[in-house]
């Protein structure tokens, strides 16, 4: 049954044998993917094969990007468009769409569908208490996660306020998953219904999934879900600060008896890079390089930098690229903190308020997608109305037309950012006005361009560096392949000395890999041809020696 037909097999010629073996067929799988394993294409192949057989899939990920990338690879790679029998999106939006909105009233006592609105929830909170400082425990009590001091009675007050807000129909963004879990726990019939709505739930970036979300998946599995596929790499879990829990993910995989399959071929990095990163990670065999640069023998480079000279690092990376005569179309300096990033870049970047993000994204995009339209539509609605219109008050075709008119009349993205923003704001107002009932005026949120934008060129938002070396955060580069990477180990007050913690597995290979090391590992494994690790000048000789033992060539 689950064996792909010869016809199907032939069509996935873009995949290697081991990729086909890992992703096609079977059910209830934990697919662990090494960096550069071609995870997106591989999973897309599975999705295409399933959808072609008429299966209904939910394709979920922690961030919006993961699942959408797979969906788009399914369209572009295999010509299979996902229709509304399938669901593609974040775990959060999935749980909201199928549980919280239709059934939230059953566990909160609200008389209307629940809406996520942190501001309204905060308004219902007692003075001096911040709603975001309280999170739900598994037993549905609240715990304080803020940084200030608190009185013992605060939790009761916070809980009362949270319950009252939910009764009125408003919840915090984070509560969505908790409420979804309560629905699954208290209403087995609904859990069974959702479990049978989809033939398979695929969770990408599973290692970034938090405990409550994992608990939801567990409930769905127990309610009769036919197949759960977790895709991820524990080593790349870098979202522990949001509650991600690789251990609990592992526990879920065990509970659901997921069969472990591995994507071990690295289609990104050279074997020289694979060998070194495996040692840094510790206690694993190196990935098998299988990509176009597999035989490029440039050993990773270790350099020391002076903190006052960080702004020279991009130039240095370019120099290495030139010295080796590499044809590198993407070059990045990767750092953990934004602040260090600013220092390296030598200039601060403009802050972009929430409402402007979709405008800038649409203005700078090479190709407009459905997502651009959706975001602009919701921006127009927020601008036009202070209260969201009901289904019947909203003419969707009119809204789509307004968004289209806005896009076609966009001012060219040039001049200072403020000049552009001023034109964009009036274009938004005009497009939003078209949605109004004649005789009424705009009552929604006004767009205000920050005055500081006069100091930035519009182009500064687009390409950053003249010579093509980008400066990005490790989190921002997750999932990307970059020809030449310089990973910068920082010293800071808020975290340990990174050069040392990233060498922890080199000192003790069987030690458990911690979140600091995982972060470094993600940074190192972005590189395709050239990898440079830059450590502070203050780094001790014993640490330097550890890196040398891993195969880094010191310069």
């Amino acid at each position: 049954m689950t064996k792909p037909s010869p016809e199907t097999k032939a069509e996935f010629h873009g995949l290697s044998k081991s990729q086909k073996r890992a992703v096609l067929g079977g059910k209830n799988i934990f697919l662990s993917a090494c960096p550069g394993a071609g995870k997106t294409t591989s999973v897309a192949a599975r999705v295409a094969a399933k959808v072609r057989k008429g299966k209904r899939l939910a394709l979920l990920s922690y961030t919006n990007v993961g699942a959408r990338e797979i969906a788009s690879a399914t369209v572009h790679g295999y010509g299979i468009a996902l229709d509304d029998q399938q669901f593609v999106g974040t775990l959060h939006s999935f749980l909201f769409r199928y549980l919280v909105r239709p059934f939230g009233h059953l566990v909160t006592g609200a008389d209307r569908p629940l809406t996520v609105d942190n501001e309204i929830v905060q308004k219902l909170f007692p003075e001096k208490l911040k709603s975001d400082d309280f999170k739900y425990n598994a037993d549905r009590t609240l715990r304080y996660v803020g940084k200030g001091t608190r009185r013992p009675s605060d939790e009761t007050k916070a809980r009362d306020a949270r319950v009252r807000a939910a009764e009125l129909g408003f919840i915090n963004h984070d509560d969505t998953i908790e409420i979804a879990l309560w629905i699954l726990q208290d209403h087995k019939e609904i859990a069974a219904a959702l479990a049978s709505r989809f033939d398979e739930i695929i969770v990408d970036e599973a290692q970034d999934t938090n405990a409550s979300t994992l608990a939801c998946l567990r409930e769905l599995h127990d309610a009769g879900l036919k197949s759960l596929v977790l895709v991820g790499d524990y080593d790349q879990s870098i979202y522990e600060f949001t509650g991600a829990s690789p251990d609990k993910c592992d526990a879920l995989a065990k509970h659901c008896k997921l069969k472990r399959r591995q994507l071990k071929e690295n289609f990104r990095s050279s074997q020289a890079i694979c060998n070194v990163t495996a040692k840094v990670r510790g206690a694993v065999k190196p990935d098998i390089a299988a990509g176009p640069y597999k035989d490029l023998g440039i050993a990773p480079i270790l350099i020391r930098y002076r903190t006052e000279d960080v702004s020279l690092l991009p130039e240095l990376l370019q120099k290495f690229v030139d010295d080796f005569g590499l044809d590198a179309s993407s070059k990045s300096v990767l750092v953990h903190s934004r602040i260090t990033g600013e220092k390296i870049r030598g200039a601060s970047r403009p802050q972009i308020p929430r409402n402007f993000a979709p405008l800038i994204s649409a203005a700078t995009a090479a190709n407009l997608t459905q997502e651009h339209y959706r975001e602009l539509e919701s921006l127009l609605l927020r601008r036009a109305f202070d209260k969201p219109p009901t289904q019947l008050e909203l003419d969707k075709s009119k809204l789509r037309n307004s968004a289209a008119r806005l896009l076609s009349g966009f001012a060219p993205f040039e001049g200072t950012l403020l000049e552009w923003a001023t034109k964009a704001v009036s274009a938004v107002d005009e497009a939003a006005s078209a949605l109004l009932v004649p005789g009424t005026s705009l009552t929604g949120e006004q767009l205000l361009a920050p005055p500081s934008w006069s100091e930035f060129e519009a182009s500064s938002v687009e390409a950053e560096d003249q010579d093509g070396v980008l400066v990005d955060t490790i989190h921002g580069a997750k999932g990307m392949s970059i020809d030449a990477v310089m990973l910068v180990a920082e010293v800071g007050n808020s975290y340990r000395e990174q050069a040392r913690s990233w060498a922890s597995a080199l000192a003790d290979p069987i030690a458990k890999i911690d979140s600091d090391l995982r972060l470094g590992y993600v940074g190192l494994t972005r590189a395709r041809q050239l990898l440079v690790l830059a450590v502070p000048e203050s780094t001790r000789p014993d640490v330097m020696a550890l890196y040398a033992s891993a195969g880094f060539a010191a310069r």
Binding site: R56, D84, Q85, Y98, R101, P102, F103, H105, L106, D111, R112, P113, H187, E189, I190, A192, A193, L194, A195, S196, R197, F198, Q391, L392, E393, D395, V437
Partner: protein
Amino acid sequence: MRIETLTIAGFRGIDTTIEFAPTLALVAGANNSGKTSIIDAIRSLLQPFAEGLGNRWISASDFTRVKNGNPIEDLEISAVFADIPAKHQGRLISILAPSLGSGYGRLTLRSRMNQDGRPLTRWSGGDLGLNDVESIARDSIRFIYMPALRDASADLRPGPSNKLANLVSAHAPIGHADRKKLVDIMTAANIDLAAVDAIITTATSIQARLSGMTGAGPYAHTSELQFTEARFERIIASLQSLAGSSPSTSRLSENGLGYNNLLYVSVLLALLETDSAIPLNVLLVEEPESHLHPQLQSLLLKYLQSLTDATTQVIATTHSPQFASAAEVKRLTVLRRAAHPASTTAHFLANAPLSARSSNHLRRFLDLTKSTMLFSDSVILVEGIAELILFPALALTRGISLAETGITVVSVDGLAFDPFISVFENGGIPLRCAVVSDSDPTPSELDENGSDQFALPSATATKLKGRDGGNIRVVLATRTFEWDLAYVNFEKPSVLIDALEAIRPRVADRLRAAKFADASEFADGLLDAVSKVKGPFAQALADSIEESEAQIVVPAYVMDAINFAGDLE
């Protein structure tokens, strides 16, 4: 899975909730009671089985109710589904309504009239009626519509709308070996055909003329003679059903409309059962009685009642007392459009306070004539044929036309009134119902020695009187209808005696000659004279009242019943 209730607010002026029986629901009602509107509401709410099979969109004319002189802006049609099996709850998750109970769902259509005169229609679902409905859910509930006046043979004849094609397709899905078999048969037939001299000659002579017209240039065209193109879709579309009394089946055009309709229903029911992935198919049938004679109506109904397929629900409207009378009472939903308030109301007879026993009684006795009470505005229930004939005539002498007032007189033919009254009590059809009975004891209530207890109303009459109240008014004759009629006409008895003359001339003469001490004695005498001929006597009396406009006094209790039923008090 089934539709349990349909709630309509504003659509064509209807504001009501209609309950439907499972598997087969019959919606009975007089003309203009809203039957078609209910079918149309379901067609607007649900998806058709296939494109073109009765799709209906909300249109401006559906917003017709006038409120404060303005047409309404919003309308709503909402169905509650019950018994959704667990295996289908996944695809229907966006309409599940757990607050209503396990296995319940709700689908709601809301439409708003825009300023530009176009209705904007949205579907939503769930407990709160506000959840976005997934297309997978909407596609899971489908209807097939059979309008009242249809040419069933058109849908069964070769051509693009051929329903048989759908059915054959369902039994031979893509990849099925039978597809190739059919194509092979047709290819072989076409080859054989092309070898027949007459065909070759015909084709050549057509081709010669065609070429003469088009020339051999760019407009040249070739013609051929074939049974049909040897492609699966074409072959099955060219199939036709033959039906008739075996052994010689006949072509559709040779059958009556009635049999073709039965054939059509058979094809549809077979088609509905082919797709087990669909949790609910609703077959909407308007007036299944059209074109069918009474015996076939009963047979069709009996068959439909025997259906047990949990994924098909037949909702049929009828204004045929014949069809209604053959139905199980619990399947009937009766629609009324009363004058006040001027809106349709629906009454599900399964909710009437009928015991299982009364329900069976009713089913047995609700024959053609009695079931007319389901289609009337108000009812006078009487004992027998005499009242049935004379009440309209007597009312007319007081200037009241029972027909125009909407009062139907129904005779229970000497049966117990009980189950009939229950139909109109709380939970049943809220009609004004007057019950006219005698105070006479029945023979079984007399003492063994037959002693006279006329001074008191009988036990049955007393019990009956206890049902008085609300919509029900029980009036009793002092003794019996004829006795009371004679009693009040004692002063001028000629109208009664003249009527008797026609049937029993000698008895009439004797009565005319006799001297009676009082009205009571005369009434005894007349009752005695007509006791064996109550029907013919009533007939003769009605004739003389209507034709000669003879003067007659109407007993007070009769007027009481008429005034109550017609709300004329």
